[in-house]
């Protein structure tokens, strides 16, 4: 509410006959905001009428044209009701309740403000406005002692966001696009190339305002520079794409953090999008926010059906497409592509894990919210193992499956994100004290193969070129190699339902500075 003695903003509204009426100070005035379907507003109308008859300058502002006309007719009003159907004045005056009565002095400053109807307060105000010692012609006894007001239309959640978007101090700066009435807005957005191929939610100003309520950041804060166009992703632009993806406002901080992570030199989103291998980010969310925003980490964690999982991953992809300009056929050149390019985001079931969760392993506090981006090219490839009975057996079984990453004879170039399912966790933990690191080490060790077995031959052109092998020292030729350069290239998280011995592995792209390195980013409000 405006503070006492505050200078009230001038305004001009048309009355019920279409005549403009202005409030700009200059004389003592009572402003009263009403809406017709509010019983308390109807209660105070006779008081306003009596005040008007007593010569008090009154401006009644009504919130719907239809309602205003009904009030005029029902009460045979001698004064007009100003039409604030666009609610601009109600919004500018921060009206939350109707009736709201504001007493403005002759300098246009607020002297008093009352919400709802408290008879004693209205009586006192009335006495201060009319000549001393007299009272207005009104049967005060017929009025109730107290009535609460109703909610102003300007704070109706659906309307309020639109009003905020259109207000003079609106935080929105993005170019506005008017879609002609004859155009289907969904078809228009497809035609403009805004979509990943599925329908998108129209990013109207009010939806974007609502989305921005999900973060405390300044809408114009630049979060990242997005390749390939090296365009600045502001919070507002990210919010627009999050709306299109179908996100709720509370998902926005996760989307913002994922954009930060994707646009690092380490993650290399440009290379990830451009490679003919059809790579794409996989997002793993850790921390309390998983529960807060309702992410899925259990049954079908990597599948469809959960809004947060589906739309957060999609929002990142739309940001890269629309802000960065990575479009298939442009700088995005996948031979086959893969469906994870639409969206791939899930949460780790930390509570089901016997080990520290991914973000803690990567240096964050357990209560911090973190998103981790892994670059995948295939998967989740299932490790269908329903019969291994203890940890080491299962680790080597998983390793055999992981040897297919890229190609069984392709070694030392990629990494993997292994999503271990709960039943496999139970199998592993039959060995007391078995650690995550031991799982990684045993997987790595089980992939160890004689180097000479990895040389190109008549069965496979993939492998170490014969000439290169021949030029290598004898120690190398007689040595062994592991699938991954180190155990650090095996990333392990827990997710999935309690039923089923099917872990899944995302196969990486090229890991290291020449490809993509896993990046974790703290999620800030």
């Amino acid at each position: 509410m405006p503070e006492s003695a505050q200078l009230l903003a001038p305004f001009s509204l048309a009355d019920d006959k279409g005549i403009d009426v202005s409030f700009d100070g200059g004389q003592q005035t009572l402003l009263c905001f009403v809406k017709e379907d509010c019983p308390t507003c109807r209660t105070v109308i006779p008081v306003l009428k009596a005040l008007f008859d007593a010569g008090v300058n009154i401006l009644v502002i009504g919130q719907t044209v239809l309602g205003n006309n009904k009030l005029i007719e029902a009460f045979d009003l001698p004064f007009p009701i100003l039409n604030d159907e666009k609610l601009k004045v109600s919004f500018a005056y921060d009206i939350e309740t109707v009736p709201t009565l504001i007493h403005a002095d002759k300098n246009g400053k607020q002297v008093e403000l009352q919400e709802g109807f408290v008879k004693s307060d209205w009586q006192a105000l009335t006495k201060s406005l009319v000549d001393a010692g007299t009272d207005i012609e009104l049967d005060w006894d017929s009025l109730p002692d107290w009535r609460p007001g109703c909610g102003s239309l300007s704070v109706d959640p659906i309307i309020a966001d639109k009003l905020r978007a259109e207000a003079e101090n609106s935080p929105l700066r993005a170019r506005k696009i008017e879609i002609a009435p004859a155009d289907d807005e969904f078809e228009f957005m497809f035609d403009q190339g805004f979509s990943d191929g599925l329908p998108i939610v129209p990013p109207t100003p009010e939806r974007v305002i609502r989305m921005l309520s999900g973060t405390t950041r300044d809408p114009q804060e630049v979060i990242a520079t997005v390749a390939p166009n090296l365009a600045e992703a502001t919070v507002e632009k990210i919010a627009i794409n999050a709306v299109m993806a179908g996100c709720k406002p509370e998902y926005l901080p996760v989307v913002i953090a994922s954009v930060q992570a994707a646009c690092t030199d380490e993650f290399n989103i440009h290379g990830v999008m451009a490679t003919t291998m059809g790579a794409s980010p996989v997002m793993v969310v850790n921390g309390p926010i998983r529960e807060k925003i309702g992410m899925n980490m259990k049954l079908s964690a990597l599948g469809q059906g959960n809004r947060a999982n589906a739309t957060i991953g999609r929002a990142l992809r739309l940001v890269i497409r629309n802000i960065g300009g990575a479009v298939p056929g442009g700088t995005e050149r996948p031979t086959l592509g893969n469906p994870m390019k639409f969206t791939m985001c899930f949460a780790e079931w930390e509570e089901r894990s016997p080990w520290e969760p991914l973000h803690v392993e990567r240096g964050f506090a357990a209560d911090e919210n973190v998103v981790t981006l892994f670059c995948m090219t295939s998967g989740p490839t299932l490790v269908v193992d329903q019969t291994s009975l203890e940890a080491s057996q299962l680790a080597s079984s998983m390793a055999m499956s992981l040897e297919s990453t890229h190609h069984p004879k392709s070694y030392m170039s990629s990494d993997t994100l292994l999503v271990v399912c709960p039943e496999h966790v139970d199998t592993i933990m039959r060995t007391t004290g078995y650690t995550k690191q031991r799982l990684k080490d045993e997987i790595l060790e089980a992939t160890r193969r004689p180097t000479k077995d990895l040389v190109q031959d008549h069965k496979s052109g993939v492998g170490i070129p014969k000439e290169k092998f021949a030029s290598m020292p004898e120690e190398f030729q007689n040595g062994q190699l592991t699938k991954f350069a180190s155990a650090k290239d095996i990333h392990v998280v827990i997710a999935g339902s309690d039923a089923g011995k099917f872990s899944g592995a995302f196969h990486g792209w090229v890991t290291g500075p020449g490809g993509s390195i896993v990046v974790s980013q703290k999620i800030e409000d």
Binding site: E178, E185, D191, P202, T204, V226, N229, I240, N322, G324
Partner: protein
């Protein structure tokens, strides 16, 4: 009218782009009658004049069921498959 906010980096203008113009009509040319009354009379004459000026162009005629509605998908597909150019009489 719906207003949306531009999700892109705003480096390109937002507009409906016209199809590329070839500068010369060759191959197959469709004339679409939108079924406005007497529109066919104008188009018949138009076809004669075009045939004189473009003797090597094959002219195909099509007609919408009604001018009040967009052309049915099947008709649009047929026109697209059978022609390289299209002339449509839009209104009176």
């Amino acid at each position: 009218m719906t207003t949306i906010l531009d999700p892109t980096n705003e480096k390109a203008p937002v507009e409906r782009q016209l199809a590329a113009r070839h500068g010369e009509i060759t191959g197959r040319l469709a004339i679409l009658d939108i079924a406005k009354p007497r529109g066919n009379i104008l188009l018949d004459k138009f076809e004669v004049l075009l045939a004189e000026r473009l003797p090597n162009v094959t002219i195909n005629r099509y007609r919408k069921p009604t001018f009040t509605k967009p052309a049915p998908d099947a008709l649009r597909a047929e026109i697209k498959a059978e022609n390289d150019f299209l002339i449509e009489g839009l209104a009176d």
